[in-house]
Assembly symmetry: C2
Homo-oligomer: 225 residues x 2
């Protein structure tokens, strides 16, 4: 089961999983995020994969989980209309405390019901945004807790953990060639502001939020290589 948000990272993770596993299910979370447009983007990527890539034949059920409770719990810029700035402690204001812990725990609960024990996510230490719930140590500690709490051995795989964004584009190309990176460039969504009207060489977005800048820099670094 791949945690598939519709972003660039999870799209590459999905390709990675599809080439390694016979059957792959996907899960996404609707938590009232301002960049909720990613929920439509993810459907376009899923149908693009199904229609054009023979190696995506193992694509199984897609689950979208209503997680508006996140907005109830946390007043942060990702779920409400507050400017994205650095908050105290050096963490971006968009930090929903432990968001990835919740995503993974919920995915594991659903996976339990479906007889799946391998969860794959695009968490990554190298984008320097400082989210402690993206660190390998955190993810693996949670895998232990979840395995104990559900009495079943789970593996949490994060193939992008130590890649920078340029390396992620490169991995995407290795996995699916230019046709796949084109699908990712066109349909994956990164912009925190949810902007899809402006087009850049690296995709759509506001071009100014930290997510757009990270995506732009990564894309340009990859193209220069």
């Amino acid at each position: 089961m791949v945690l598939f948000s519709g972003g660039q990272d999870s799209a590459v993770c999905l390709a990675w999983a599809l080439q390694r596993y016979r059957m792959v299910e996907t899960i996404g979370f609707d938590y009232g995020q301002r960049h909720r447009v990613e929920l439509q983007c993810r459907l376009r990527i899923l149908s693009g994969l199904r229609d054009h890539f023979p190696w995506a034949a193992g694509l199984g059920e897609d689950h979208v989980i209503d997680l508006t409770v996140l907005g109830q719990i946390s007043a942060t810029s990702l779920t409400r209309d507050i400017a994205i700035e650095m908050a105290e402690g050096g963490l971006p204001n968009s930090f929903v405390p432990g968001r990835n812990l919740l995503f993974l725990t919920l995915a594991a609960a659903l996976a339990y019901r479906r007889g799946i024990t391998t969860l794959i996510g695009g968490m990554c230490e190298t984008d320097y945004s400082g989210y402690p719930d993206c660190r390998n140590e955190t993810i693996q500690a949670l895998a232990s807790a979840v395995s104990l709490g559900m009495d079943r051995k789970y593996a949490f795989l994060t193939p992008l953990m130590y890649l920078d964004k340029a390396a992620t584009w490169r991995l995407g190309e290795e996995l699916g060639g230019p046709a796949f990176t084109e699908l990712v460039r066109e349909h994956s969504h990164s912009c925190y502001m949810g902007v899809r009207e402006q087009r850049f060489i690296w995709g759509y977005g506001c071009g100014e939020c930290p997510a757009c800048q990270l995506r732009a820099r990564g894309y340009e670094a990859w193209r220069r290589q």
Copy 2:
């Protein structure tokens, strides 16, 4: 912050916390449970504590989190209308995989926002219902994962972990005397079927579900002592 469901165990935990901490907040979860009547019971216990027990003066804000997503994820007897029986693996059918992992992670996210790092819950290894997410090893593994993922040191305390139900009643009496055990007996709710119409010496319920039987046995063992 005390995970307060309105059950007997969490009511005793709440008294335990109120006598040890200056300020105590409470959190409950509405997940469409069949025994949803416990959400009303918890309010009666909270107002009973406020009105009659001077040591409950530190009772702060109460939070009820909408967690209908649990029902979306899991088709089990606690959240849907299926008979309560033993399922494969010896676990009761009412098992929502990793329910306590989710409760604790959500409570920690809310606690983060409120500057609280001590979570207290009534999880207990000794009621033999076999829930792996109630075990001490699970809870402490999750405390590590949450502390890493939120970059803040959390303590998860479970004062009932090694007590049986008779010992829990006894602890309640030590903490608050007969007036408190009477409040717990009258207003705490255990019955999985959500029955409040039938009265027994140990409280209200159907008298037949595993939760009622456990409560009845514990109460009788305590009274015999």
